[in-house]
């Protein structure tokens, strides 16, 4: 006698970039995983930059993700602890431009406050207490949007601690890039740092995962130590296969493309060079982008030779 078998299988969440971006509408709050110029979901960011969406609120440990969205005029408001390219020239040119022209409103905060706000949202709490932010300009950046809370528990000496009540950073959509996943959304990072991608997914209503490599579940669990499996399928809604998708930031299997990042930054300095950069790399779909990046790299090599 054979045991009863089920013919049903877990949901296949394979998706295209365009299907994912079609779910995003103007005015939404988007959380973007990674850190600075590290493991950013750049394929999704590039697709979002090409879309018709506007007036986004972006929550990020910022790098060129926020920069490219600012360049495309998509951002109305940004919540971040910093924005950095992590290597020279360090400062993102398009974020800087959006700030110095007053084009975006920002809620700047301590780096730890970003984590705290995502943890509150992921735990379905209205806020979590944190010391960071007290006494700094963070309270001025946020105005009445950021409040303090008095501890209900007095200190041993009878005094009361007043702390920042970090509000939950609730996201409509989280965009993250991991290195390897199955079609159901079980996913692992292979670099040295998980960053906060699971928290972004925990804080979001819809969770879009782009990955360099899509494999079977069996291969996934054989390929990576299980402790590297940062996401499980209940925290992922769409799986988008995007090889080298984090370019020009780094992911587990490839480094940051320092030459291309510098090219991005220098191209932003002048309207003509930026137009050329945009036409070649941003006005095209992801597949074409990857082809053109390879062509550009060959040109650079040829010039050196």
């Amino acid at each position: 006698m054979t045991a009863p078998t089920t013919t049903r299988t877990q949901t296949d969440k394979s998706s295209t970039l365009d299907e994912a971006i079609a779910e995003i509408s103007s005015g939404m709050t988007i959380g973007i995983g990674g850190w600075g110029s590290r493991r950013k979901p750049m394929a999704l960011v590039r697709a979002l930059a090409r879309s018709e969406v506007t007036d986004l609120t972006v929550v990020t440990y910022g790098g060129p993700d926020l920069g490219l969205l600012c360049a495309a005029g998509k951002v109305a408001k940004a919540y971040y602890g910093f924005v950095s390219l992590d290597s020279p020239p360090f400062y993102d040119p398009w974020f800087a431009h959006a700030r110095t022209t007053g084009a975006i409103e920002v809620r700047e905060m301590d780096e730890g406050m970003v984590k705290c706000g995502l943890e509150a949202a992921a735990s379905r709490l209205p806020f979590l207490p944190i010391r960071a932010g007290l006494g700094s300009a963070v309270q001025d950046f946020w105005g009445s949007e950021l409040k303090t809370v008095d501890s209900p528990y007095p200190d041993a000496d009878g005094r009361t601690q007043t702390l920042i009540a970090m509000p939950a950073l609730e996201l409509d959509v989280a965009l993250v890039h991991l290195d390897i996943a199955d079609v159901h959304g079980n996913a692992a990072y292979t670099g040295v740092d998980p960053y906060f991608d699971d928290l972004y997914c925990g804080a979001a209503r819809r969770r879009f995962l782009e990955v360099d490599s899509v494999v079977s579940t069996a291969e996934l669990v054989e390929t990576v130590p299980l402790q590297r499996m940062l996401l499980n399928r209940m925290n992922v809604d769409r799986v988008i296969h995007a090889p080298n998708g984090a370019h020009f930031t780094f992911a587990g299997d490839y480094g940051r493309d320092e030459a291309f990042q510098r090219f991005y930054a220098t191209s932003a300095a002048d309207p003509d060079t930026w137009r050329a950069f945009s036409e070649r790399f941003l006005a095209v779909d992801e597949e074409t982008y990857q082809v053109r990046v390879r062509e550009w790299a060959s040109e650079q090599e040829a010039q050196k030779a």
Binding site: W35, G62, Y80, G81, F82, V83, S84, F90, Y91, F95, A96, R99, T100, T101, G102, E105, V106, E108, M109, D110, E111, G112, M113, K115, I130, R131, A132, G133, L134, G135, S136, A137, V138, D140, F141, D155, D157, R159, T160, Q161, T162, L163, V192, D193, P194, Y195, F196
Partner: protein, 255 residues
């Protein structure tokens, strides 16, 4: 070994002394000179310091700047914030502006929502200063950095403290090391005070390059010179490529 010591090497000594007595905590230097200083401290007075590769690995050994070494642990960004909150860390940050109360800015110049120049944002400065010892390294001491007030308070200074709120109780702005001298906030009402000036630096030079009055400037001592062993560690072990000399404008002092 040459009898001549460079200003950069004196700055390294001053940065190493930031960690005197720190014990078994995480040292987080954010620039080359304090990084060399932290590693010198680890090889001399503070062998239990934890140092990382700047990403997520904790070094079991003390490699040269940019070099690799065996690993003793894992410190991803997520865990760094746990360490920050625990207080077991001493960070040496940079600063675009510092005022006499120790407020620091690395965010932007100008107004909050419409700055004239954008830098990194406040980064970890608000949380670092509220949680654990924080020092600053400034390679070019001038009155643009050390001015009357900072545009955007990133690192919290002593004049922001609400004495009725014990949540400010961990604020400890330990040192400011610059190419001219070593400072702390032991002046009147926790204002900036000169501890020592580097050899060859005059009180007048510091005063001319600082936009506010520095306490005890005329009575400050002289920053000590490195020992032979310290010089050997700096030149041969920690920084054989001489990266320190790129960060600090060269001035030689004979021993």
């Amino acid at each position: 070994m040459s009898d001549n010591v460079t200003r950069a090497e004196i700055c390294v000594i001053a940065c190493a002394e930031i960690f005197d007595g720190a014990g078994e905590i995480m040292a987080s230097p954010m620039a080359t000179t304090p990084l060399i200083g932290a590693r010198l401290a680890r090889l001399t007075t503070e062998p239990d310091l934890l140092i990382t590769d700047g990403e997520a690995l904790i070094f079991a050994d003390t490699p040269a700047v940019g070099g690799s070494a065996p690993i003793e642990g894992w410190m991803p960004f997520r865990k760094v914030f746990d360490v920050v909150a625990s207080g077991r860390r001493h960070v040496v940050m940079g600063a675009n502006q510092i005022d006499r109360h120790g407020n620091q800015n690395l965010s932007a110049f100008g107004s909050l929502q419409h700055p004239t120049r954008q830098m990194f944002g406040v980064r970890g400065a608000p949380g670092n200063t509220l949680n654990h010892p924080t020092s600053y390294w400034v390679a070019k001491h001038n009155s643009r950095v050390f001015g009357e007030q900072v545009d955007i308070v990133s690192g919290v200074g002593y004049d922001q403290v609400n004495p009725d709120n014990p949540a400010y109780g961990y604020l400890d702005i330990h040192r400011v090391v610059t190419n001219l001298g070593v400072f702390d906030f032991g002046g009147p009402d926790h204002t900036m005070r000169a501890r020592s000036l580097h050899p060859g630096v005059t009180a007048e030079e510091v005063a001319d390059n600082t936009g506010f009055e520095v306490a005890e400037l005329d009575s400050a001592g002289v920053t000590r010179l490195p020992s032979d062993e310290e010089l050997r560690l700096i030149r041969e072990v920690i920084d054989p490529k001489g990266l320190r000399e790129r960060e600090v404008k060269p001035v030689e002092t004979s021993r």
